[in-house]
Symmetry: C2
Subunit: 467 residues, 2 copies
Amino acid sequence: MSQKLFGNLQVVNIGLESFNLPFEKMNIPHVQVLWRPSLVVSSEAKNIISNNKEKIKAANELAISRLQKGRPLLVGMGNAIDVIPGMKKNLILHAGPPITWERMCGPMKGAVIGALLYEGMAKNEIEAECLAKSGEIEFSPCHEHQAVGPMAGIISASMPVFIVQNAEFGNFTYSTQNEGLGKVLRYGAFSSEVIERLKWMEKVMYPTLKKAIENKKEKIDLKNIILQALHMGDEVHNRNRAGTSLLYRSLAPDIVTVAPDKETALAVLNFMNGNDHFFLNLSMAASKAIIDPARNIKGSSLVVTMARNGTDFGIQLSGTGSQWFTGKAPFVDALYFPGYSVKDANPDIGDSAITETAGLGGFAMAAAFAIVQFVGGNADTALNYSKQMYEITLAESTQFQIPALNFRGTPTGIDVVKVVEKNILPVINTGVAHKDPGVGQVGAGVLNAPSEPFSKAYEEFSKHLER
Amino acid sequence: MSQKLFGNLQVVNIGLESFNLPFEKMNIPHVQVLWRPSLVVSSEAKNIISNNKEKIKAANELAISRLQKGRPLLVGMGNAIDVIPGMKKNLILHAGPPITWERMCGPMKGAVIGALLYEGMAKNEIEAECLAKSGEIEFSPCHEHQAVGPMAGIISASMPVFIVQNAEFGNFTYSTQNEGLGKVLRYGAFSSEVIERLKWMEKVMYPTLKKAIENKKEKIDLKNIILQALHMGDEVHNRNRAGTSLLYRSLAPDIVTVAPDKETALAVLNFMNGNDHFFLNLSMAASKAIIDPARNIKGSSLVVTMARNGTDFGIQLSGTGSQWFTGKAPFVDALYFPGYSVKDANPDIGDSAITETAGLGGFAMAAAFAIVQFVGGNADTALNYSKQMYEITLAESTQFQIPALNFRGTPTGIDVVKVVEKNILPVINTGVAHKDPGVGQVGAGVLNAPSEPFSKAYEEFSKHLER
């Protein structure tokens, strides 16, 4: 009937999808065009960026070519104070953009307290808290010291860290050893069991792992482990079972070789084996090692950092140097563990979004269908996350592949211009911390980065283009 | 134009797909119905089976319920002669249906020669060959001794074997330790390096692995490893990287604990770590352990064995007891390694198609996209293999899932009636042996089982229904 009535009417809808409903009912051909208004930015910034498209393109090509060439190797371990640039006794590194003690969220405060207890700088929680707010302790983002840390991301002077080097460009990055799940420092726990575990990790596991890494004839190629892990159902942010398995296979014989005795070898093997997230800290350090050479390229709109301190979500661009652009850290649309809900959740926290920044994590969700059982959704959801991220990235990885998309390279290199113009925000696949220190993980899910840091970065980027 | 000419013409095509071409060109609505004539079987058999649909259905429900409940555990190891039922000194077990020395293919003959050298029953190739054809040596299929073997599948008296038990039904299965790639017995190699490796596997690796398995507080749950491996890109026939990794993670601490010294622990760890197919022999034994309780159910058209000796392809049905139905073993549509072609290939060989029989391997290809880089095709090919197998199977696994199909259970339990009536033959994902002994693997690919064993089984099955 309706077809007669409307003759050859054909509809192109660029508005709300629900506008299609009447056409569907009346059997009138219609096409939905994905379009939304850009993020709110000034027309001045838009004009500048529009007038500099060629310059930006060239700068981004350079940035991406560096990103693609990255070859992160696990080259050694050391204590933070000995290896991390700028590290000192009264400095505590944390996840995300800069933040004062006063503005820190619960889990980050808890982790700072734990670090001060661990360092022997305070005898109890109250002493630690007083010290933390006294001004004697300095706080600085991991990212400003070539380091990354999951969740609270706390690194203090004595902590052992992995040393990753990008063999192509020579740059180094650092990350701690992953503590496992449950009551752990990175979720703000600081009870005696947490401190004792950290001490064991420093006194027993670290010397053995350090020697095991040094014992290898060839340095462990983290790029190779990551690309294999993507073929094995990991996206190396929220799922690291394959990465951990492959690292374990690689290191176990060396651990057995160098451990002072059988008991130590067994303890280290069992610790790694008991924690499917063990590889996470290395996938993060590898991601940062890959992307750092793409920093500080004049005219590049590449996002080189996305990081959250649990209060603020911050990003940095290649073309705007070390400046942070921040917005409120959002809550995660998560699957909560039994007994918990969004009321218990801390806003998004951790440097782990460096994996997404490097084209992994949520961007590689379509390589990791099994993760949807942990974060919600189904195989199509996972495919769609990855597919959508091609819209806002500058390239497809020449290294990391998504088997289910016929081995298409992962969407790689977030372009702040595309994010703003298309109003598509990066997806991040992440764990959720309880808002109170020491409770631990309460869920896992997927979120979109907040828009504010991207709008701000876009504005500032346009000003840099004019300099 | 054509639309006017033909008015409301709509076409349903059940013939060749190319018949659609003119309708496509003329823009005439058409639907392709997948249909092909059934395999050639007698009308008597068809009638009997048609008249017994309800009886068959009930029998198959029982068979499938047993298959679904399978819980294969790795319970121990032993020497073949001590643990395999009916094993004796002058008996050699082989892959596939029964075969005489004279009819054996090159790689199987080579492997028999190797086994006789390994057992010290012959001093050299010529002695071994004479002995093999003398009649003093008996040959019997692995499958007739609760065992399975990849490729030539040779098991001789001294060889150590894994012992797998289906905890639900109590039945046992057996398989050897996987030797790795290159020049290995299962591809028919019998040079001194092959025999020496087998001796090391018997004298060094076996005692350590046996103790390591016994050292575990809980038996290793192979079902659990397989279902995890399917989430990690394995289909556990041609790709076993995840299964091997998970098994290694599970056993490494026990190996370190029980090994007589550090060197032995390291040697065993390195051997396992150097062979991504190490888990294959266990996925095979697990598959057989799962399906064996579904044998010998009167009226069931379930295929309980698909096995190849490199000359014949044989199957067994639940409803027809121990009878083999054979046809010529086909060549594999393979990706050949550099320097080799189909001219070098032996026909399809090995008991490894037990994985497909249990709903894994080629049936689970859609869980293992990365394998297409090894066997040819792309992600869609892999999806289609699995999707098509739902057409000829009785159930979807309640245990093993395909993440890319939204965690749909793998197509499980081949129904000979569906195979014959729909003329869709099981896909098998496999390695290809060189036709000459001792060369090794020359490629890998996917093949369809030959039709002859299924037609024969269908005929005989109909006769059993009348008894």
